[in-house]
């Protein structure tokens, strides 16, 4: 899921300075799991707005704010409250914010910072393991992504900063290459160590990304 957190209140105060009446949008998917844009947070945000002397004209939690058509439909259901607002505040990831902004003419203020695609260690503890680079070598690295989990994204082994199997950037973190090495060894295969990995094909990480199932696949 996309990991997001609430922007600092000082930043939000500035972003909302020109508006008195706001419609609040949350997201029932990732932002709810991150406790950044679910029902509780939308409610809390509304209270904070009131403390700032502002009004909330209404709110909606969209099932998946990134779903452009669903966002449009849910906003239509709250047409009057949206119309009544000076702007919309969106407590969703950057993707969700843009689903909303593409569906309304009013100014949209994003309330969250979007951080990464996260795996769930346990509720409330998220870790980045994939950077969606489009050119996956996980099959050779015993299922551990060095592009993401090595601080330098190296493809041919650890850097000179590895110390006792830990990362030079954060001694608390195990070196990705040390983990890959140990796991491959326990599986009794060479994997990525069998070859020199050529430079990464970054063009596989389409930017901006677009993808459409071909006819007949859907």
């Amino acid at each position: 899921m996309i990991i997001s957190e609430l922007k600092p209140y000082e930043e939000l105060q500035q972003a909302l300075a020109d508006f008195d009446k706001l419609f609040i949008v949350g997201c029932a998917a990732c932002a709810t799991a991150c406790k950044s844009g679910g029902e509780d947070e939308v409610f809390k945000f509304q209270e904070w707005l009131n403390e700032q002397g502002k009004d909330a004209t209404g709110s909606v939690i969209i099932d998946e704010a990134c779903h452009i058509a669903r966002a449009a439909r849910d906003l239509r259901h709250h047409k009057a409250a949206v119309q009544d607002a000076d702007a919309l505040v969106v407590l969703a990831c950057g993707s969700g914010i843009q689903s909303i902004s593409s569906n309304v003419d009013k100014q949209v203020v994003g309330g969250l910072n979007s951080m990464f695609l996260g795996n769930v260690r346990r509720f409330g503890q998220y870790e980045e393991m994939c950077s969606l680079c489009g050119d996956c070598i996980l099959n050779e690295t015993a299922g551990i992504c060095p592009v993401t989990t090595c601080a330098k994204g190296l493809l041919n082994g650890p850097c000179g900063g590895m110390a006792d199997g830990h990362c030079e950037v954060d001694a608390e973190i195990e070196c990705a290459w040390s983990l890959i090495f140990e796991r491959l060894k326990s599986q009794q295969r060479q994997g990525v160590f069998a070859r020199r990995v050529p430079p990464k094909n970054w063009s596989r990480r389409f930017q901006p990304g677009r993808y459409r199932l071909k006819d007949g696949e859907s």
Binding site: N156, G160, R196, P199
Partner: protein
Amino acid sequence: MSFLSEQLGNGQFVVTAEIAPPKGTDLSEALAAVEKLTGITAVNVTDNQGANMRLSSLALAARLQQQGTETVLQLTCRDRNRMALQSDLLGAASFGIENLLLLSGDHSKFGDHPDSRPVFDLDSVQLLDMAAGLMAGTDMAGKSLDGVPEFFPGAAVNPAAEPFELMFQKVAKKVDSGARFFQTQSVFDREILERFMLAMQPLQVPVIAGVLLIRSSRMARFLNDNIPGVQVPETLVQRLDSAEDSLAEGVEIAREAVAWAREHCQGVHLMTLGHEDRIPEILS
């Protein structure tokens, strides 16, 4: 052919030293430090070392090369994508720079621009492959070059890194990718150096041992806390601590490391950080 490659090829014990470009445009101090270097085969020019922004290593190396000082150009993957790296390497060749030390580079988090976006488009193995490709006349896109560079590419290694077996598989990859010599991270432990040199034997690639002049226990502790891959053993920290003249003790420690290198390695790389005048003593 560079002096460095010639001397290593002849089995002569080489001595290289290290110089950092200034933070600014005034080269006078760096050039004066180079003047003080005697009995040196080549001068390493560091590339934004410790991820601290300085004048470009290529610019200073070019200047030294034009003055007749042979250089080893350090080039890191941290700040440049593959186009910039190729471009700088061709630029280096145009100034007659042949010796290269090709590195991944310290993470930008450690330096004075921690907010910068680290690049690492290539890793050090891929950078070595790329240099080999340029020498064979083609760039990474497979296009032929108009004028082909001649390089003597080297790579870095930290003999103290653990797990050793994992560190060493990368050494082997670097050799496959055309590393013609290795320069080690600072060596402080004879046994660690011996273990590494034993593993290196079948690869037949010369090793230049890194020797760092530590002037005080305070500096040793700073290195331990802040410089990736450098760990000064506690026994040495205490020697520096209890010494009357800690710089003299540091020189003595460096002399011991040079002695181990003479026994096991093909050369020594001196990092004296402003104390270039002590080099004759360290080598004596």
